[in-house]
């Protein structure tokens, strides 16, 4: 009895934290999102978001930027993760380290360095704002794509690959029918770790002189203009998008999850 009490009480600090910094702010956001300046309940913020061509334009631009970034990250990360996980490399841990290391270097420093390199190559950063943003984000988020894919691939039961070959699959068929589907959980968690931040991380754009708004900068602008109601609604809409994406992908993961393999 005493034991269960003390175990449960270990959760109290986090419970308090959860309430103060997760539940309470969420309630406040919902409150602001559905009220107007005089504190009355309204759907105007919601309808306003979808009516305003500016906010919709920002949403589309953000989605597109995030989509391109995610695709490039995936195309770069999968082969790297595959070679790292499946190859018989003696320097596997060193290579892995090389790909992870940028995460340990201060973000501002990295982007500043990138800015200098891009300026050197392009002359003026203002010529290619979209391209520069994609490069910056890819540079920033690539490790988050490599890691989960690497983890699922390296945990894969090698006898499954041998079983596919044994049953007559050549290398390509083994990859498309067994390795790729089984690595989907890693791909999906990689996507969710890249796509969502890429929609909102406006610091990269700011630093690379891309003045186009994305969702993050849009929310920021609302709050700095003291329009807390509109800003909260945009945050809530983003939250809803994230929820939908997460639910969809967890369904997929449920399907592809490794079965009872002892």
């Amino acid at each position: 009895m005493k034991m269960t009490f003390s175990r449960k009480s270990l959760g109290i600090p986090y419970g308090i934290f959860l309430f103060l910094f997760v539940v309470a702010p969420l309630v406040v956001i919902v409150y602001y999102a559905f009220t107007n300046g005089s504190g009355q309940f309204t759907f105007e913020n919601l309808t306003g978001f979808f009516k305003d061509p500016n906010t919709m334009g920002t949403l589309v631009y953000s989605l597109f930027l995030a989509f391109v970034t995610t695709c490039i990250c995936l195309l770069l990360a999968y082969p790297v993760a595959y070679v790292l996980a499946m190859g018989k490399l003696k320097l596997r841990s060193v290579l892995m380290m090389l790909f992870i290391m940028p995460m340990w270097i201060n973000f501002t420093l990295r982007i500043t360095a990138l800015k200098e390199i891009l300026t050197l190559l392009e002359g003026n950063l203002a010529f290619y704002p979209f391209l520069n943003s994609v490069i910056g984000m890819t540079y920033d988020f690539l490790p988050f794509m490599i890691l989960p894919i690497y983890t699922t691939l390296s945990k894969m039961d090698l006898s499954l690959i041998e079983a596919a070959q044994d049953l007559g699959a050549d290398r390509k068929q083994t990859f498309t029918r067994v390795i790729l589907p089984l690595s989907m959980p890693g791909v999906i968690s990689g996507i969710s770790m890249v796509f969502l931040p890429a929609m909102t991380n406006y610091v990269v754009l700011d630093m690379l002189y891309n003045s186009t708004y994305i969702m993050g900068s849009l929310i920021g602008s609302y709050f700095s203009a003291y329009n807390w109601h509109g800003g909260s609604m945009i945050s809530l809409i983003l939250l809803a998008l994230i929820c939908i994406f997460t639910l969809l992908s967890s369904d997929r993961q449920e399907e592809t999850r490794g079965g009872n393999n002892l």
Binding site: E162, A163, D166, G168, A169, R177, T256, R257
Partner: protein, 477 residues
Amino acid sequence: MKDNIIELINVTRRFDDNGFIAVNDLNLDIARGEFVTLLGPSGCGKTTTLRMIAGFDLPTSGQILLDGKDITDIPPNLRPINTVFQRYALFPHMNIYDNIAFGLKLKKLPEEEMRRKVSHVLEMVDLEGFEKRRVSTLSGGQQQRIAIARALVNEPEILLLDEPLGALDLKMRKEMQIELKAMHDQLGITFIYVTHDQEEALTMSDKIVVMSEGKIQQTGVPEDIYNEPANAFVADFIGESNIFKGIMTGKLKVRFCGGEFECVDDVDEGTLVDVVVRPEDVILTAPEEGTVSGTVTSVIFKGIHYEITVESGKNEMVIQSTKASKVGDEVGMKLDPDGIHIIIAEDNTTRFEAEIVDGHTLDYNGKTINCDLSKVIPGCSVRDGELTDQSGNKVDTSAMKILISIEPGDIEMSDDVEAGITSGRIINLIYKGDHYSYVVRTGHGHDLVVDDEYLWNMDDQVGLIMPEDKMRFAVKK
């Protein structure tokens, strides 16, 4: 001529990263339709052999023939061979139907035929109607059956089974043994089965291949493997056995354990032999009626029988008997001639080469061995450490080496790995009645046999002390 489906010719597999030789110059023929079991302790090379037949592993040297055609370098997907994996290896992202139909889909079979074949193999493994089930909802035994069905649906010429029953409980294992045997009889295809479980091998196989340290120790039908083990390793590995050192004392007469017994193996008088006696073949008698007698030191009830250990002089004999004895009883022991199996003792002398330093010292890997070379090289004498011939000229020893040999019983083992001329790890031990016979693998990868009356553990690191007065020297030019 026998119809061989698989032939392994001088197959060796060495692993590059650590130089370990998993399979060493193996030759093996497998006849069409046979149920062959590769049997041996872990690390004996049986799984590597199977993987080379499947195509997952390539031999470092040697050839693998299928129906007389060389398939050594053909990838696994092009071999008419299917495998049942140790841990089933069912695809977790597919249902049972898709798992079984995996191979058929790759062959682009018509949907209708595919359906028929899948339901046919499901029927064969007693899991009708499981098509839509997910892998994770199946028990271990059911997953194993699906794995067998998935391999058989491709109608392979050879089915490879890599310890397929290892993860099942005892009762399920016994059931599956019988079912697998029945399946083999029904299908008529070749089964190659890998296991470390001797009972499994004896139950199911037409032919057993006993392996140890990458080599075949014996090939034969189960009865021969059990009754006529080719060497002490096989006798020790298959079933319980007492192994004694003995000597032939006359026509069909052998002396061991302090007694003279009649036997049925005709071996020349004076030959040193290993004698194998199965515990169930020893007949307990009154002390004065037995060929030898001894004192009971332990009695363990095993259900069907008692396991009785009798000490007779320096020897120890394990006996299975349905009648109980008491610890401390004096008993006699008798053996029927066909209860004694004679193995001509292997030559386990250790031989190695040393460099000549001067007239009375040799060098072996930096260790000094004293040896009077004038007694080794005929017609030479040693003067001031120099080796001279009869006319007083210096003998050129640069091209000469000294071959040193020493008997297993003369080598001593020590906890101090620096104590002796070399050191190594114990990789095998067999109890031989009054002493243990160890195989020690040195750092250079040489295996040598050491006899010692004390028990050391597997994997112990030991220093090997070789007394110089027990060494025999010979010149090697």
